[in-house]
Symmetry: C2
């Protein structure tokens, strides 16, 4: 029998017995399988009901119950199906004259009205059991009923199979929240965070500390919302993370801090980003990189939902350089292969001029990925799409090689490659019959990025064509480590900027390079990647004030005055410390298999940052701005045009 | 032996054995009494140390330990006392030639430097034990030492007995956090909130749901900070509470919601208020007032610190009218008596003209409070202060009556009052020898407010003179109920405004009055009061859309368009619901006996809303405001003057 979700959410410590398929909009009746045994949380304390609708089983037979719920549907004025967050139950509408008033209430209330009924749990007549329904063996013989609130005509039906646009769902979020999937997502989120808190607070002595969100703009903090104060010209800002505060807490001797922290980032319009988001924010004193990694592995293992396979720790780890050369990205999706292979060595003595040229350049390489059964699955149009992507986005040529069932080559280059080389390629790329190979030549980083991108595109294409490449039940965690400490500035490559943030400590083996070749210094930053998404990042921090001053002032040319409080704090006995932040919305999105982070947030903003329900942000009369000493400056026409280019209209609106 | 604080914080489920005195700045060595038995939280996982400094006892004798901590002080280059959050331990500096490098490190590092030491736990030589120190029977024979970070000259010593101004403490908050008291306050806060979460989430099936803080300005929300968006003229606002969202969650079928919610209120400068604060926010469906009250009583009982006396539930309850007439306030401090007594009836036939006049007015009353031993403790100057307060703030005359050791009256009115009346007064006010009585005559509400104010003033004065009136270990909870639903508008008494908020449901017995005498309608609002401070408030909400529309549009004359999403939600099957919010900062302030809520917040703002450490809020260059289409409008001189009157300069600055 098909089972999912809420049933297991509240089963406490019971272990899953098998694999749970995670449908995006599974239907109510069959999905809510509740164990009849007593659950730990008491959902019926302090309220008028005696039971939830969804929990009733044959073990409740004969009991007098009072239920509160929404009318899901009604059949011929004989049956009514009542719903609460825990599931559905069938209510028998009394037909005898003496219960006329009860019948009237239950027959006249529109669907989605809220009613309270009292009655007896009875067996369904033989043959009328519904095995697809968790409560399908029983029904309620009603004695009294009360209409608690009537429902007007709805903008859409609260049935999981009824498809709605996301704009409609967001506009009527309070109705969308009644769906099984949103109930599951939000309840799972609550429980997973609770397990994390238990782990950190109760088992490992972390202190949950709230840090301010009305703070001061950080140097270069272009993505920080500002909040005008009542002092003319002075603004707070909403911080992107509690980074400074968590470091100051370490200086303050609160040596194990965590917070489920609200953070803010004003990036204009970005799909699948939110202007406010939540991170599990952690910092420890006297810790090294291994310590933080072990903590996070154990934390995730402990808080992992019981309806998933248990996590296996430790997670694999990979250097940034290796991630780039093997997967073309710093956040590899390691659920599948199709790794990038450097085949430069095979072509050292090639006659093909263009390849000769590339290999003679510094960092010139020839690389390839093998697309399993690509020859079989891909259409001509797919290959054209791939080549076009390479030229449009990377200005690179892609050479496809098609292999037939006998591993014969079908490619323009085939004749220029010796048989021996072909065999070597088959071996290196682990090529099988009907695979396709994509070859490219160019500078190392660029070819890696290109093939990394094509690897994901081809995976999507293969899955669209029916191949099962990425197991939806597989959670493939990966640490990426040894990032560079600095990167050349995009707009001025002669200068350096922090690859992550300026408080990241350099790798101990590279400290000497800070004063000679800072661009070669690796950092003690680490990223946690899950199924190709970055879900966390952190670092060991600089605790030496002199080193921090040198990096800020000399290497990054920042105004140290703006960070004087932090530098001063490092002077006064700052312990060595490090930490990490996990992106909670993204993590829950992956865990629940949701299509978007909006599906794991109760009241998300649209991708333009709008609340489609209340219509925030909104205009404010000038007199309400006066206490803040600001006024609106309408953009000129050309600015407005530019701004509308950056922010395309909300398709949801 | 004197014990307090951190020792018990981490003792898990052990019950307190006696009364804990709560010193505001108790000294480290004697206060950190740790039980040597194994605690549940492992403070040493994932880090370099094997133990905390403060946990070592004779049971650790012979163990090789590695400790990390701050140098608290050094004695004659022979002993060094190392501190971490859990306490102090004595380290013996080796004197032999072979350990010269260890000696050098430990003798040269300045106080508050961070060091790591490894060595053996040994007994102190007989006679050298320190019974005032939790670790006073042992010391560490050091083998190796490492200086982790050196400390520069501090702005103040990290010793609890060193007094600092609050401005200095806030400027160097990271140093102030090292004090025992701040460690205790923040750790207790974390644990108490964790217990609340366990209770709500694990035991009673509440769902922890995060609601947005970037929202839309509520009608009349004058105290809401605004946040400019990138769309010209459009603003988010930072909500004062998740009120709308929690009601929408009920409509969405998430029928037990809670959140430790960050809230924002821009009140300019108010002592002991913060622009951002935290509330335990709760909402339930299908609940009545009794249900919410029982929940909160049980929640507080469950999460109450183990080092305090257990709470006794249920809490007493009092109507608003009774609170006003007995204590002159809606948040009575019920730790002591001195209740207001109406003595009008005794004077119905009085010859005193002024009293006759008053009693002939509508609502005219004569009231009194008895100040225990006031005649003995109060000086002439005190009585003058009291009379001045009455005339200055209430435009009322106060008549003091002093009673001597024989209960003889010493007062100008004494001769106008008959002996019989005097005896009746003695009985009604429970007057004892050397008490003082304060009499006043006037309109009911005004005399109540005046005497309520004087009651508190006199209590402060009595305590300043040495009387013990309010037991600091006593936590006196009280429910105040049956508030009026509406109040006359202050600036236009012909119109009504909500006494609390417009979503509060009317009292069921008063609903008919809504359409005839709305000013007489009582509400289903309830406040929770602790020791005279309001620490929580909530209500049963309106779930009927028509009633909500009538109250908003007809009675309150609000623009219902701004709340159309909420009204619409009530149309679509909103369940009956209610909730409450507890002010976490205030609650913790009372529980820890802190002088101010700033002492239970890691990084508080000064009373002018400044972060004295980082200097927030701060100026922002105009180009950083441009993406938000706002510009600063400098106030004119007269406006600036007015503003500076409203916001006196920060005395802390």
């Amino acid at each position: 029998m098909f089972r999912c979700g809420l049933s297991r959410l509240y089963k406490g410590l019971s272990r899953p017995t098998g694999h749970i398929v995670q449908p995006i909009w599974c239907s109510f009746p069959r999905s809510l399988v509740l164990s009849p045994q007593r659950r730990i949380p008491d959902f019926n304390s302090f309220v008028g009901r005696t039971n939830t609708c969804g929990e009733l089983r044959t073990s409740h037979l004969g009991q007098e119950v009072t239920l509160c719920g929404w009318i899901q549907y009604r059949r011929q004025n004989i049956f009514l199906v009542l719903r609460d967050f825990q599931g559905l139950v069938q209510v028998v509408i009394p037909q005898d004259e003496s219960a006329a008033s009860v019948k009237k209430i239950l027959c006249e209330a529109p669907v989605e009205s809220v009613v309270q009924v009292s009655g007896t749990v009875v067996s369904r007549p033989p043959g009328q059991e519904n095995p697809k329904m968790a409560t399908g063996e029983i029904e309620i013989k009603v004695k009294t009923a009360e209409l608690l609130n009537s429902c007007k005509k709805l903008p859409f039906e609260i049935k999981d199979f009824v498809k709605k646009t996301e704009a409609l769902r967001l506009q009527y979020r309070y109705l969308d929240l009644r769906s099984f999937q949103m109930q599951y997502n939000l309840r799972l989120r609550s429980q997973m965070v609770m397990k994390m808190r238990e782990y950190l607070c109760n088992l490992h002595g972390f202190v949950d500390i709230e840090t301010p969100t009305l703070f001061k703009k950080t140097p270069g903090g272009a993505k920080e919302f500002v909040v005008p104060s009542r002092e003319p010209g002075k603004f707070y800002s909403l911080p992107q993370s509690p980074q400074q505060f968590k470091q100051l807490l370490m200086v303050g001797g609160l040596d194990r801090y965590f917070q489920v922290a609200r953070c803010y980032r004003d990036e204009g319009s970005r799909p699948d980003r939110q202007p406010e988001f939540t991170q599990i924010d952690i910092e420890m004193s006297f810790v090294d990189q291994t310590g933080i990694q072990s903590l996070i592995e154990d934390l995730l293992r402990y808080s992992w939902p019981k309806d998933k396979d248990p996590l296996i720790v430790p997670f694999p780890s990979m250097t940034f350089a290796e991630a780039l050369s093997t997967y073309g990205t710093d956040k590899p999706d390691t659920r599948f292969g199709m790794k990038i292979v450097d085949i430069s060595d095979m072509f050292r003595n090639t006659k093909i001029e263009i390849l000769q040229d590339v290999l003679s350049q510094p960092q010139g390489t020839i690389k390839a990925i093998c697309i399993p059964e690509g020859t079989k699955y891909f259409k001509r149009k797919d290959v054209e799409t791939i080549r076009k992507l390479a030229t449009d986005q990377f200005n690179q040529e892609i050479l496809p090689v098609f292999l037939n069932a006998n591993l014969n080559w079908n490619s323009p280059v085939a004749k220029s490659i010796m048989e021996e080389q072909k065999l070597e390629l088959l071996r290196l790329l682990e090529i099988q019959e009907e695979d396709m190979v994509l070859l490219t030549a160019g500078e190392h980083n660029k070819t890696c990025s290109l093939l990394g991108k094509l690897r994901l595109e081809c995976a999507d294409l293969l899955e669209a064509r029916g191949m099962v490449l990425r197991d939806s039940a597989l959670f493939s965690f990966l640490w990426v480590v040894d990032f560079p400490l600095f990167l050349p500035k995009e707009d001025n490559p002669g200068e350096l900027e922090s690859a992550h943030h300026p408080f990241t400590a350099p790798h101990p083996s590279d400290i000497h390079l800070l004063y000679t070749e800072p661009e070669k210094v690796r950092s003690q930053h680490y990223d946690l990647v899950l199924n190709g998404s970055e879900i966390g990042g952190g670092s060991i921090r600089i605790h030496d004030a002199e080193l921090q001053r040198y990096i800020l002032a000399t290497l990054l040319k920042e105004d140290v005055k703006l960070l004087s409080h932090l530098l001063q704090a490092l002077d006064y006995g700052a312990p060595p410390h490090g930490g990490i932040a996990l992106g909670l919305d993204r993590l829950l999105c992956l865990v629940t298999g949701a299509a978007s982070i909006r599906d794991v947030i109760a009241f998300p903003k649209s991708f333009r940052g709008h609340d489609l329900m209340s219509n925030a942000p909104d205009y404010i009369p000038p007199e309400e701005l006066r206490p803040y000493h600001i006024q609106v400056s309408r953009p000129t026409d050309s600015e407005a045009e530019k701004s509308s280019l950056n922010h395309p209209p909300d398709p949801e609106n």
